[in-house]
Symmetry: C2
Subunit: 319 residues, 2 copies
Amino acid sequence: MERYTIGIDLGGTNIKAGVLNARRQLLCKASRPTGAQRPWQAVADDMAALVLELIKQAGVDRRACAGVGVGCPGTIDAAAGRVLYSNNLKGWVDVPLAEHIGSALGLPVRLSNDANCAALGECLAGAARDCGSAVLLTLGTGVGGGVVWNGRVIEGGPGGMELGHTMLISEGEPCTCGRRGCVEAYCSATALIREAVRAARARPDSLLNTLCRGDLSQMDGKIPFDAAQAGDAAAGAVVERYLRHLGEAVVDMVNIFRPQVVLLSGGVCAQGEVLTAPLTEYVRRYAFASPHLEPPPVRIAMLGSDAGLIGAGCLVDCR
Amino acid sequence: MERYTIGIDLGGTNIKAGVLNARRQLLCKASRPTGAQRPWQAVADDMAALVLELIKQAGVDRRACAGVGVGCPGTIDAAAGRVLYSNNLKGWVDVPLAEHIGSALGLPVRLSNDANCAALGECLAGAARDCGSAVLLTLGTGVGGGVVWNGRVIEGGPGGMELGHTMLISEGEPCTCGRRGCVEAYCSATALIREAVRAARARPDSLLNTLCRGDLSQMDGKIPFDAAQAGDAAAGAVVERYLRHLGEAVVDMVNIFRPQVVLLSGGVCAQGEVLTAPLTEYVRRYAFASPHLEPPPVRIAMLGSDAGLIGAGCLVDCR
C-alpha cells in the first residue's frame, strides 16, 4: 500500500491543501476560503473537512495516509503544534491547531511556519531537490524565509527564523516589525516599489512615470526592472540598489548557515537571471572566507504557490 | 568506571587542553605554545602528546576516555573533521586534523569552530546550563559566535555561523572580511576603541583623553565606559551607540533563532549589568512579535577562557 501525506497551506484568504505520494508528487489539490473572521475552531474544522474531501478525491485509502502537515502564517510553536500569534489570522492567540485537527481526523498533525514549509518543499521536491540544505527568502509584501538542513526544517525556538527581520541599515527605513532598517524594509517587493515611486517623483522625466501611465499608485515590482532594461538611469539606480541590498541579505544568510543553495521566491523572482546572476556573483565576492569555500549559488524557487502545501506535506516525515 | 572526555582549545598562541568528567567538570588542564609557524602535523602531534600527558596527570584510566573534542579558530568542516582555513594558523589549508590526532591516540576526535565550542561549553556547563538553547556572541578583536540547540551545536555548512559577519549598516565601516558594515565592525572591542578614539579626537576636553593620559594608543574597551559613568558626554554618546548596535545584533539573533538566552563573552563583558540590563530591555522592546513571546534575557558568559576547552570536551557526546 503506497503511503501518502496531506499538506495544508493556511493563508489569511484561502486554505489550500494537497495530497502527496511517497515521492512527494502532488496528486491533487483543493482550496476553500479561510473565512478568517470566524472563530479559529471553525477554520480548523474546515481544514479537517478539506482533508477528508481530498482523501476521497484522490481515491486514497485513509489508512495509507501517514499524517497531515500544516503551514501557517505568523508565529508558530512547532514543537507544541500551536499558533502563538498571526498578523493574518486576527484573534488567533496560542491556538492548539495541530491537536484540534489531529483529534478531528485521527491522524498525526505537524505544524510549522508557512515560509519554513515553502523552504522544505523546495528543498525536497523543488529547486533545491539536489541539495540537502537550503535557505529560502520569500520576497513579497514582506520578506520571510526558512532554513532546511539535512532535509529538515531548522525551527529555532517559537517564533524563530524571521529572516526578513534582521538588520540591514541601522536606523534606516521603518519596518513593519517596529524596528528600523530590517531586510524586509529594503528587499521586499513593497520596498522596491517604494524606492521606484521615490525615484519617479524625483525624476519626472524617468521612464518609471511613463510605464505607470503617470499614476504612481500603479507602480509594481516589474516596472523598475523594465525601465532599467530600457536604459532609464533612475530605474537603473533603483534596481542596482535593490540588488545590492538583496546581495547583502543573501551573504548574511550564507555567512550564518552556509547552505548548499540560496533560493528566492515571490513575484520579483519573475526576473530570473537578472536577479540570480548578479546575486551569485555578489555571494562569490563577499561571502566570508570565500576563496576557501565553494560559495553557494542563488536560484529561483520553482514550486510557486504550491511550495507551501508540498512542504507542509513533507513535514509529516521530516521533523 | 567513570567516563571522561578531553577538550582541546587550539589557538594561534597556545594549545590548551583539559579533562572533563561525566558531569562536565574540568578536572585538570594544561597548555603549551602552539608554535603555529611549524607544519600542521607537528602541532597536531603536540596536541596528541598533551592529551596523553593530561590523562596521566588526571590519573584517569585511558580506557575510560570516551574521546577528544577540538575547538579550532577559522573555517572548519566539522562533519569531515577538517580545518579548511584559519587566519590564526597560517598555511593550514584543508587540514585533516581530527583524523591525524585520532590515529595518534586511537580515540574518536570531533572538531568544531572555537566559538561554537565556547557556546556549547556555556550552554552545557556555564551561564546557560539551565537552558537547552543559546546564542553566544564573543566580543573581542572581532565578533564570533555560536548557536546551541537542544544541547548540540548548530554547525551549518563548512564555514558557517560567522555571526559577526552579518550586516548592520550597509556601506558602513570597513570589516576585516572584505565587506563593509558587518556586526564585527560595530560591536567588537576593536570597533568600540575606534569610536572612542574618534570621539576623543573630536572632543579634546573629553575625559576620554584624560583617562588615556593623552596617549590615544592607550585607549581600551574599559575607558569609554568609565568616562561615560563619570558623566562625560562624548564617552556617553560612544557607549550609547555601541549598546544600540549590539542590541540590534542581539535582536537579529533572537529573530533568527529564538534561543532561551543570549550570552556575551569577551573583555567588554567585564561591564556586566551595564551591558546586560539595557540589552535585555532592547530585546524586550524590539524582538519580532515581542508582546506574544517571552523574549530571552541577555547574560554574561561565565566560563571565561575555559569555555572553549570545556565545550570542546562536550563535543564528544554532543554532535
